[in-house]
Amino acid sequence: MTAVATHSGAGAAADPAAAAPMPRGRRSTELLMLVFAVGVVLAAYASAGLGLNGKLPAGLVEYGAAFAVLVFVAHIAVRRLAPWADPLMLPLAALLNGLGIVMIYRLQEAGRGGNPGNVITTMNTSTTLYQVVYSAAGIAAFIAVLVVIKEPRILQRYTYTLGALGLVLLAIPAVLPDSLSVVNGAKVWIRIGGFSIQPGEFAKLALAIFFAGYLVAKRDVLALAGRRVLGIDLPRARDLGPVLIAWGASLLILIFETDIGTSALFFGLFVAMIYIATQRTSWLLIGVGLFAAGTYAASKLSSHVGARFTAWLHPLTHANVFCTAAQVHCVSSYQLAQGLYGMGFGGILGTGLGHGQPYVTPLAQSDFIITAFGEELGLTGLMAILLIFGLLVQRGLRAAIGVRDPFSKLLAGGLAFVLALQVFVIVGGVTGLIPLTGVTTPFMSQGGSSLLASWAMIGLLMRISDTARRPAPQSIQDEGMTQIVRAR
């Protein structure tokens, strides 16, 4: 293995004792940070209860204990299963997840229009409980990933299986009749019995693995073969195939599921990973060009996409804040406008949890949860949350840079980037930076699919980070050129 060779070549042979300072797993740091994260979440929960009813929430002890137990179980699992993993990922993810639960609790308590007896649409009286249960399931998925995947490279074996699975998951809602696939106007669901699953969230993981496996195999041919035109290395036509397939798939999602957000995520993921693999700017240009052309065509062809653009450009004026059923061509920007009003209302320091009116904005518990935080925690709190996301992305990228094996490197880079892109698409969408497209806010939005997939992704990233930071095997004895390597 390269790892061994590198190690022995780096002077370890000369002084084994000096080479042996064991790199620290920093699990105690993780524990301390987790205590801090749980403290922040509990304080937020108490503050929301005080703000709403003037007294501590009834379930403070139960919910608090449940949340603390959950994250400490995750911590113990990490100690056992991935002792070298990054110490910040778990606390950051737990903090985001906990804050999301607090906001959902706060919205459920306030009810629609601030009337506690009147439950917000798509919520019910046990939504908070469900969210806690989903968080438990998410952490279970996180642990399961650490248990099942001992070594990230084993995933490379399932490259095409996972690729096919990802495409199928993506395509299912498009194929299913509306009655089984549409929730709140978005055709991105599978509805079975009382449950609804967003397969796209899981497809994201499967396709990231597929892209990593495929690109590791094909990176040389993609990078080197081809002609150079105007200073740009163009790939060969036959190598373009997979790119075109990815592009076509994301366009199909766009057309059949009218979901620009998810389609942008997949295409962005693919372009980013092909760029990491080949380091060829041409792929970046081709990818961005194809996506821009596709989106432009879609905005012309689909009134749905065009309306999103109008609402984005004129949230308060040209697009009407209110549209009645009679106004056929009226573009409603009610949701966007209310979200922006909420943020403006919160201002710099926010109203404080429980003191604002985030329930005025439709879907404040899912797509618009960021504006709810902006309203109640203010610019200050929102910046903190964005920085938590940013830090999580950074830790993912750090793992990607640290890991040696190219497959793991690609996978970690792709996952970290798609997390950043998803945050950019949804936060940028609800704050009016870019046209609004419905993707979930990772770890925060109401709903199980997103939480499960996000936690599984953290599991993968921590497994890769564990591989990256794990100290190289130590030689047992120093016998010149011959080494016995400790078998693992």
């Binding site: 380091q279 209110f322 406008a337 005025v360 990228l397 880079g413 930076l433």
Partner: protein
Amino acid sequence: MNRAMLRLSLACLVMFALLLINVTYVQAFKATSLASGPGNVRIFDEQFQYKRGSIVVGATAGGTTGGTTIAESRLGKGGSTYHRYYPFGPVYAPVTGYDSIYGPSVGGTAGIEEAENKELAGTDPRLAVHNLIDLVTGKPRLGATVYLTISPKAQQAAYNALKAQGRPAAAVAIDPKTGAILAMASFPTFNPNRYATLSGRRLNKIDLAYRKDSQQPLLNRATQATFPPGSSFKVVTGSAAFGTGKVASPQSTVPAPTNLQLPGTTHVLINDDNEACGDGHPQLIYAFTISCNTAFGDLGMKLGGSVLRAYANKFGFNNPNLTVPLPVTASVFPRVSNPDFTAFSAIGQFDDEVTPLQEAMLSATIANDGTLMTPYLVQQVQAPDLSVVQSARPSVLSRAVSSQVASEMKTMMISVTQNPAGTAYATANQGIAGVEIAGKTGTAQNGVNNTNLDDAVFTCFAPASNPAIAVGVIVKGGGFGAAAAAPIAVQIIRAYLGIS
């Protein structure tokens, strides 16, 4: 691959930087303009969680001490939400309008609550610094206090007088020297306290009941309703006659036949009850004093429609942009060219329309030596930290006539109340009023074929020697202006001048 990874990290950094810049822009810099965005229910609701500013009348002139609060926010029973309270109920309703959970009243019911909403709610950009300080120090946000020019004595007298006579009516009083509005009353009116409920269902019911009321209590007749001015328009026609030199002085004689045949038609213009006007060639002051239609109809035809319209505009007619800051419906003097219609327009009939505010402005112009001051209601706006953010500065709306013409018109208007033959002698002479009033009555026919009861109109100012108050009163279906409208004006003047 690490180099590409570093570039990708840079892309992630850019994405997060863009998000942070954008949220900073929205929450720190755009927050104020978002606060007044269309359909922003948070700001409306918020008024019930924060103390909205008070509306105060009768503070010392130019200052902000003393005074009577006519609208304030009070803590409700639970101690968490504020509700609006109007201590005088309907008396000031046309001035204040109302504030409800759906926001302040708008349209024909719009009052200071709507016109000064940003100041009262504390969202006005000029209050932004105070808000920021309050935000940092954790104090609850407060609205600014709005001080009005209204005189509580005049307003109460106007409301009492209107209520006592019982017909739909309105009265406006102005300080002619500044344009400050001293009273603005309308009857029937509504009780703004009823809109203070926090229950949407109850509010809808109350609002619907008011809206369905055929008496139109929500309409602010003082500024929003127009009526034919009748003979009170002769103030304008007389001013035009002097201003153009068509008539040299009040003592000049003018033709005033019992029947004025209108050229090109079979119509005949007559005087009230078909009476003669003196010997048919009276002095203009006599024709004005007993309000001969034929004299002024003839004058109007000689002046022509466009000259009359120009003078009417100088007195404030046909101005759709006037706000005090409540919106004011434009008073109308139409474009007329036919001599017959011109004759009718010259005596305030045909399509002439005035608001009670315009009636007060007619007298205010004459009282202020021919200069019409812009009417205004807001004396001062004071931030919660007691600093003044806005202070009224009287401004000239129009220099309508020369002081010479104004003095001649004043002589004629004094004659209306002081000459025993004058139309308003019986109800507004010095013995009754306790002060020398100068005025002009109007009795306007209206309805199809003039079948409705006449509207009673009176415009006047007092004291005639040194005018302090100009009043316009219109009583719908009141009959003679002198009988129905003048006593109301007299009561307002007596209350304002403190004549017991």
